[in-house]
């Protein structure tokens, strides 16, 4: 891990040795073993195995409906697994959910800052929910806003923010309590190219400054190529390929792009996988972005 804890270390040290199956190597930040989630007859996540190395930026790729968001929801304790187990920082997501929640940050796919509050107020509410002490609170909020380049917009209602600004505000919010693992679901979907690059730069800065492990889902191959050190390609609820973007490209031969890798492993999934819900959600985000 190359990171330097310049400021506060991530709250809650990883519970060393508690992660099952660590097999001598450093304990992974996130580990899922034979994870399954069914919704009625539909199996969204099917026997998923996953190890996210501590300190890495890990990309979960796959077409709509591959089970990425369901996986993230289980790892962030929002959804109980049907079977199998998952640990975050050595804590079981089902049985030690409060311990997990204290140590993670989460940015959902939707632009989810509250439009009827100012940027500052959005952060204030979460600083209080995470029980950050009063003396620390103002300083951390100010730092987070500065860090994300939002100091001037702190007292503006968020409904007047652009999509890129809302995303940055959400990243600012998610780092207030110094999470050791940050989960992002499609962090740049719907953003223009400039806003996307800004968000990427901020995520890299975030990792450098606080040493957080970042687990993100995306179906944007450029994003995965730019940002992720390890990617897992998901298809029909399973991991079908795993490796660094460079390694995965090499396996397909000279000149292959990550797009090629993606299509190679997921085939014609584009047409069959997407569900109405995904499409509706995408539209909603698009509407908010105007």
């Amino acid at each position: 891990m190359e990171s330097v804890h310049e400021r506060a270390p991530p709250c809650g040290e990883p519970a060393a040795g508690r992660g099952s199956g660590a097999e001598g190597s450093a304990a992974p930040a996130v580990e899922a073993v034979r994870l399954v989630r069914r919704f009625g007859p539909l199996t969204a996540v099917d026997d998923l195995n996953l190890r996210v190395p501590t300190g890495s930026i890990f990309g979960l790729l796959g077409p709509n409906g591959a089970g990425k968001s369901t996986t993230i929801k289980m790892l962030t304790t929002l959804l109980a697994p049907t079977s199998g187990s998952a640990h975050v920082l050595g804590f079981d997501v089902a049985r030690q959910s409060i311990e997990v929640r204290r140590r993670i940050g989460y940015i959902p796919q939707l632009l989810s800052a509250d439009g009827s509050l100012t940027g500052y107020e959005n952060l204030l509410v979460f600083a209080k929910l995470y029980d950050i002490r009063r003396a620390e609170r103002a300083r951390r909020i100010r730092e987070a806003l500065d860090f994300m380049g939002l100091a001037d917009a702190a007292d503006t209602l968020v409904r007047r923010y652009s999509g890129g600004m809302i995303r940055r505000l959400e990243i600012a919010q998610s780092m207030l309590h110094r999470p050791a693992v940050l989960f992002l679901d499609e962090p740049t979907v719907g953003l223009d190219p400039v806003a996307r690059h800004t968000v990427w730069a901020h995520l890299r800065d975030l990792r450098r400054q606080f040493g957080a492990t970042i687990l993100m889902t995306t179906h944007d191959m450029e994003e995965a190529d730019h940002l992720c050190e390890v990617v897992a390609i998901m298809h029909r609820g399973r991991v079908v390929a795993l490796g660094s973007p460079a390694d995965l490209k090499v396996t397909l031969g000279v000149g292959a792009t990550l797009d090629d890798v993606f299509v190679h492993y997921t085939g014609a999934a584009f047409e069959e996988g997407a569900q109405y819900q995904d499409v509706a959600r995408g539209r909603r985000t698009a509407r908010r972005l105007g």
Binding site: L78, P108, Q109, L117, F126, K128, L129, Y130, D131, Q173
Partner: protein, 256 residues
């Protein structure tokens, strides 16, 4: 315990800050109860057939209309929960270490504070209509407490319903279906003594009845609670605790 309280207050504070940014909403909410008082109350007051004891009909119904206006706002509270789910705001709350009970209690508290604004408007109109209000500090504080409790009850009930039905369309339908029966199966605009037995049975199981009963004594000069204030508040408190327990269980289910 203190952490729990702080988290509850944080959720309520967010809602109250939103109101401060957009107070117009409170004014538009005041129109309906005004119509009830000024139009319905005036007309039915002439009837003199409704046995309201020593109170004039307007004095009798004013607490009922205050309770009703609180109910009508609170019962649609669930829509904001569905809205927050659709926007993804709720996901972030649920991923925070705050307990579900704190999140639901915070929502209930904010609904209570929001409802107090109704009292201000209705008191102003009631004074203009020469309704005999009790204006002692103790009585007014009692009214505010009763309103906050009523709003907390019905907003939490609404939240629980929202977590079950999950979509705005279905919720709106159910909200419409719920409000009128809750209102009519209560002592808000006619006394329990007038009701057929079956309706009186329903009214006895309706938290709104106890809220109106308490308000009648606390708000109106010469008004008398039928059940006694301790019983009114005890029933409401028990219902609220039960609903918050239920709401906290259902709350995480809204995102699945």
């Amino acid at each position: 315990m203190f952490v729990f309280l702080r988290q509850t207050l944080a959720v309520a504070e967010a809602e109250i800050r939103k109101l401060r940014h957009d107070p117009m909403e409170l004014l538009t909410r005041a129109i309906q109860p005004l119509l009830w008082l000024v139009v319905f109350g005036r007309v039915f007051g002439r009837l003199r057939e409704i046995p309201t004891g020593e109170l004039s009909y307007l004095d009798f119904m004013a607490p009922g209309i205050l309770a009703q206006s609180v109910l009508f706002i609170a019962i649609f509270y669930g829509i904001s929960v569905i809205w927050e789910r659709d926007l993804g705001i709720l996901h972030k709350f649920l991923v925070s270490p705050a307990s579900r009970v704190a999140l639901v209690s915070g929502k209930a508290l904010s609904a209570g504070v929001r409802a107090m604004s109704q009292a201000v408007i209705i008191y102003a109109v009631a004074a203009l209509m020469k309704i005999h209000l009790r204006l002692s500090v103790g009585a007014v504080l009692g009214v505010l407490a009763s309103i906050a409790l009523g709003a907390a009850i019905f907003s939490t009930f609404s939240l629980a319903v929202a977590c079950l039905v999950k979509t705005r369309e279905r919720f709106m339908g159910i909200g419409q279906v719920l409000t009128m029966p809750l209102f009519f199966a209560s002592n808000a605009i006619y006394p329990l003594a007038m009701m057929p037995a079956w309706l009186r049975g329903l009214a006895a199981a309706n938290p709104l009845t106890y809220q109106v009963d308490a308000l009648r004594e606390l708000m109106i000069d010469g008004g008398r609670s039928l059940f006694g204030l301790p019983r009114d508040f005890a029933v409401e408190a028990i219902v609220l605790v039960a609903l918050i327990g239920l709401g906290a269980r259902l709350y995480p289910k809204i995102i699945t």
